[in-house]
């Protein structure tokens, strides 16, 4: 099977994730969509790894997963902190850093 199919799926997953990040306002959903983007990338990496017949892409994918796990930890922690402070669970309301 051609690598193009894998890349197409990867691109679709990535785009769905990006679309979600840009359109959804719930931070929990934004985090989920970020995961989608990362995994879209992972899919492409593994496809390339298969194509070249070596393990480089797989190793890189594992690194990305590690980073994703860290990111989720921090993200969820922030969401819990936001909830505890009775702030709105809405990324558009959280805009105190505007210039």
């Amino acid at each position: 099977m051609s690598i193009a199919w894998y890349l197409a799926v990867s691109a679709i997953v990535f785009s769905l994730g990006a679309l979600g990040v840009m359109t959804r306002r719930n931070p929990l959903v934004v985090l989920l969509c970020l995961e989608l983007m990362l995994n879209g990338g992972n899919l492409a990496l593994i496809a390339f790894s298969r194509m070249w017949g070596n393990g480089d892409g797989q190793i890189l994918a594992i690194v990305v997963m590690t980073v994703a796990a860290c990111e989720v930890c921090i993200g969820l922690g922030m969401i819990v902190a936001i909830y505890r402070r009775h702030l709105p669970i809405d990324v558009d309301e959280l805009r105190e850093l505007q210039g």
Partner: protein, 685 residues
Amino acid sequence: MSTTTWGWLVLAFPLAGTLATALGFRRLPGRSAGWIGTGAIFLAFVCALGALISIQGHVPAHRELTSSLWSYASTTGIDAQMSILVDPLSVFMILVVSGVSTLIHLYSISYMEKDRGFVRYFSYLNFFVFSMLLLVLAGNFLLLIVGWAFVGAASYLLISFWYRRTTATTAGIKAFVINVVGDAGLVLGTYFIFKHTGTLDFLKTFHAVESPVHPAFGHGKDSGDLVAGCVLLLVGAFAKSAQIPLHTWLPDAMEGPTPVSSLIHAATMVTAGVYLIARMHPLFERAPAAQDVGAVVGAATLFIAGTIGLAQTDIKRVIAYSTMSQIGYMIMGVSVGAYAAGLFHLMTHAFFKALLFMAAGSLIGAMAGEQSLEKMGGFRKALPFTYACFIVGGLALSGIPPFSGFFSKDEILLVTGERGGWHWALYVVGYAGALMTAIYTFRMIFRAFHGEPVSEARELEGGHLHHAEVARNPATGEEEDTDVGFPGPTHAIAERALPMRIAMSLLALGAVGAGLIQIPKVDFIIDDFLRPSFATARGYEPHTKTGLLAIGLTLGTLIGLAGIALAYRVWVIGGRDAEGRFSVADAFRARVPGGEALYTLFLNKWYFDELIDALVVRPAAAAGRFGRDTFERVFVDDTLVGGTTGIVRAGSAAVRAAQSGFVRYYAALLVVGVAGVGFYFLLQA
């Protein structure tokens, strides 16, 4: 030891003294700083004697010795070295400078004893002497400029020594600014001379001028560069030596402690200009125009300073104007070619002027800091030693034989007269100045020591030294305290302080006897000693006409005696007010024809301060204001600075607008950006 090693040691000791007193500022107890400072200068004097003895061991033709410690820069066309020149002229100068300075240091130990800035004072004082020794020993123009600037800086530090006195700090700034004008003249003059000769070293410069290798300037030919250089050197000399029109700092410099005035006037500062002209004589002899400028300015200064001295009432200012006047003689002398006579007068003047200032310091001490002659009187019995010193110094200053000033001053005028032509005018002015010198000197002495004793004098006769209840600034009458930055709580008089008496006695001996080492037609010690330095000077060898000599000596004596008699007639025999004294001002106004107008002119110092204010200060301030309003505010502030900040501000406003705080907006920007970059590379591929 070689002669130049002595020269280096002369520089080393005062520098070591400066550093020791400056670094040990908090650890030196009591008077120890004073003894360290005095010892350092005394050792320098001993080394100067060593150099004197050592240089006699060379044959006269080889008495110009240079020594270099290291090279600063040595490239094609420029050779800057840390080098000194030891020749009879510089040995003569270091002997006078270190010798008189030693005595002034000794005097200061008692005079400044109760001052809270005692250690700082001696550190500055040593630095001042070091700077002057550096100036006279410098073997090239660069080191000369360094010494020259150091002397200016040291004078600033010492004139504004009582730094909480506004008048003193103002005077210090004035001295510094005017000296910087002179420094600029010296630097620019050096540039022209360098352009002419291509070297900075003194001996090479003189050699280049005397035996030209370049066809553009023939032997004895007047060169524009050389004249310009010499005139600019004269600007430096005038500023340092307080010659018209750069003299106004000198009387104001009286704000410093009295021993400092003594040091500035006798040894370290104002003589620098005379030294410079004497040192540069091979250049000046090839620039007769510059010589004429020097001679005329010297004569004008000696006359104008004399007239101002007649009207001043502050005792230190009277002596200050007499210094200006005497330096005028020296400048005139070295400018007309009377090098040995000018330097001889420099030496005798150092003795009697230091003596007069020290005696004035003692008198001011007895008056508890008061300096006005109008408030003094009748101190003859209360201060017998000071009185004797004043008389000795005054007679020497007035040129009465056999005191030292007689021989040196008349020798300058003799050589001036021998030049003939329009120099006769200078000759006449010189004798007119001598008359005024005698009058104002003895006016000062009669005024302070004769007549009815004032209350301070009576108190002192009764054995008690007067102390002011409230310390006041003698110039403005403002109240002061006696903490650091102001004069100390008690004052010293020579009658009660041994170091002051020793210093004054030795100087009095010099003032009486120093003239005897060079008597026309009898002995020529100074002439002979200095001859190697002036080997190429034209007309250095004395070929005195006996007739003129006899006339000059007689005239000098008679004029001096006439001046003293006149002063005695007016201020001792003359009318008295209700308290038995005659006001200085009244006597002048009443007895001089056209006195009122002249008196006002002299009292206001010929309006030189106002003239400089109107010609230089105000136009410069107006130009500054004009520039500020038209150029700086409009172009610099609004266009350059305002334009730059405007651009940054507009740019930051645009960037700030993008910072909306919407996370989704940022994400969209990111995606669009990455997509854009990706798209670009796709198109490129």
